[in-house]
């Protein structure tokens, strides 16, 4: 069977989904992490447990939630608890296998920034949303997986602000690692130096291109792989998920004065 054509966005989401194992307990952020986690649930990891910070444990949404606290998440969850409980009993306690994060900027040690771009903290050029659950997800989860589009703007020598620290954790074993998945490839933190190392290139992406989209002198694994191309099941399920989501949100528009 020839490789199905796919977009960079799709291979990024699919590669992230593959990172999840069946029965993993996964703390999911909204957006790409949620798409990847739900793709995993609908393909190779049917018994994955999805926890959203709004308090839904074991959510099985039929659509991709638009916010972290959609009613769909509550309705399909095994349990819906309070926000303080989700952070204390479920995250801080160390019972999360994989913490799934996004970022605006990342550095070679997996430090991530979602706070400001440019300027100073007090007077930033661009103010971003801030920390949310990330600083504690980053240190409490046994494994951390960060998804973002790669460019010299996002893969930077020095982040403008360390919102969360990506490569160190309370509950991770010495050999556990942080994985960063982009539209170009997969990066895994070295267990000794904690530096991100390019370990896999997505189909059609060259090492040169990955280097050009990285703001530091990128280390490349001696065993550099090529990411397996998306199989047709992965693409069908992912596209179906997006299509159903778009349909639901498109037709559910209530009263609005916009435009």
């Amino acid at each position: 069977m020839p490789d199905a054509p796919h977009t960079p966005d799709e291979i990024m989401t699919i590669a992230a989904a593959r990172h999840l194992r069946d029965c993993d307990v996964c703390f999911v952020g909204i957006g790409k992490p949620s798409a990847a986690a739900n793709l995993a649930r609908l393909t190779q990891a049917p018994r994955i447990v999805l926890i959203y910070e709004s308090g839904t444990i074991g959510a099985k949404p039929g659509l991709l939630p638009l916010s972290i606290g959609d009613g769909e998440l509550a309705q399909t969850a095994d349990s819906v608890v309070s926000v303080p409980e989700i952070f204390r009993y479920w995250l801080q306690s160390g019972r999360i296998d994989v913490g799934f994060l996004g970022a605006a900027q990342i550095d070679r040690f997996g430090n991530i920034n979602t706070t400001i771009i440019g300027g100073t903290y007090e007077k930033p050029q661009v103010r971003l949303p801030g920390a949310g659950g990330a600083p504690e997800i980053a240190i409490a989860a046994k494994r951390v997986c960060i998804i973002l589009k790669q460019s010299r703007r996002t893969f930077v020598e020095k982040v403008d602000f360390v919102t969360s620290c990506g490569c160190f954790g309370d509950h991770r074993s010495e050999h556990a690692s942080t994985t960063v998945i982009t539209d170009l490839g997969i990066f895994i933190s070295d267990s000794t130096t904690r530096e991100l190392v390019l370990s896999s290139l997505h189909p059609g992406v060259t090492e040169k291109r990955a280097r050009e989209a990285t703001g530091w002198d990128l280390k490349v694994s001696r065993d550099l792989n090529e990411t397996s191309p998306p199989c047709s099941e992965e693409l069908v399920v992912l596209r179906d998920l997006y299509a159903r989501t778009a349909l639901a949100y498109g037709t559910s528009a209530g009263s609005t004065s916009a435009e």
Binding site: L73, V80, T115, R127, P135, E136, F161, D170, G254, A258
Partner: protein, 287 residues
């Protein structure tokens, strides 16, 4: 003992310039109607607390109600940035906004400490983060048994907490279900509390172990159907995702923002008029 009254009266009585005000609702049950009433009454210099300042705080900040913001994530969920929040921080418009920034886990723990009568919260958090460098309220405490160092932050005890819930009964007992967020803690941590509800019923019919606020923990209950729109009320109505997307356009420029707020909030007497105002505009566009 909860008193059942109008939202206007409740806000007039309990929101004063300079107060510390928490309005909570974690993507679900966001007290929009109450936020609009604070804007209508032109309250100023508020310290606004909220884990997830989203559209309602964007509106309040843009209308100049706040001088301080205590928060952990400020965005338009699923859409992007909050333009008024950004403008206030980046350009001090319409007024300088001092921010006190935490993580979600910390904010939740601070409300819990406030609700528990403790002066501080302990969080295993912020390791490697720059946030403590810029927030003097994030200190540390040492475990007297293991010697470990953990983050410590002061309890939150707002002057007033406002939330929206599904139901109250005639006595003022309040039932919240679905994504219950941090609402119970925010109410119990505050000196006073206003709860707007979808409906006031004779009997809550609350399942055992559900999230109920007894009437004597609430100061005012106000019946405001739809009062969480454009967020949602589980069992009543869905989130208005289209409006949340539209807000990105409305709020992008100062002028369009002000015009919209004047037309729909300042020029309407209450939330039901606001909803009719939105609806009439929609009809015009559709026509």
């Amino acid at each position: 003992m909860a008193e059942i009254t109008s939202l206007r009266e409740a806000i007039t009585d309990l929101v004063h310039d300079g107060d510390v005000l928490a309005m909570e609702g974690f993507t679900h049950l966001i007290p929009f109607a109450a936020g609009h009433e604070v804007i209508r009454q032109r309250r100023k210099n508020l310290t606004l607390i909220r884990m997830t300042p989203d559209l309602i705080y964007d509106q309040m900040i843009g209308m100049g109600c706040a001088s301080n913001l205590v928060f952990s994530w400020g965005g338009n969920p699923g859409v992007g940035s909050l333009h008024r929040f950004r403008d206030a921080i980046q350009s001090a418009w319409p007024a300088p906004l001092h921010i006190e920034e935490h993580s979600h886990a910390d904010m939740a723990a601070r409300y819990q400490a406030g609700a528990s009568g403790l002066p501080f919260a302990v969080v295993r958090g912020y390791v490697g983060s720059d946030l403590p460098k810029f927030n003097p309220k994030i200190k540390s405490v040492t475990c007297p048994f293991t010697g470990e160092t953990l983050a410590a932050t002061p309890a939150l005890n707002p002057d007033l907490t406002i939330i929206h819930a599904q139901k109250a009964d005639f006595e003022g007992n309040v039932l919240i279900y679905g994504i219950i967020g941090i609402q119970k803690e925010a109410v119990l941590a505050a000196k006073k509390a206003i709860v707007t509800v979808e409906e006031i019923v004779e009997n809550l019919e609350a399942p055992m172990n559900s999230c109920v606020l007894p009437h004597w923990t609430v100061t005012y209950v106000c019946e405001v159907p739809g009062g969480a729109h454009p967020s949602y009320a589980h069992g009543y109505y869905q989130r208005d995702n289209a409006f949340c997307k539209a807000w990105d356009t409305i709020s992008r420029e100062r002028d369009s923002f002000r015009a919209w707020m004047t037309r729909h909030v300042l020029s309407t007497a209450d939330f039901s008029e606001f909803m009719r105002s939105l609806e009439s505009e929609k009809v015009k566009i559709d026509a």
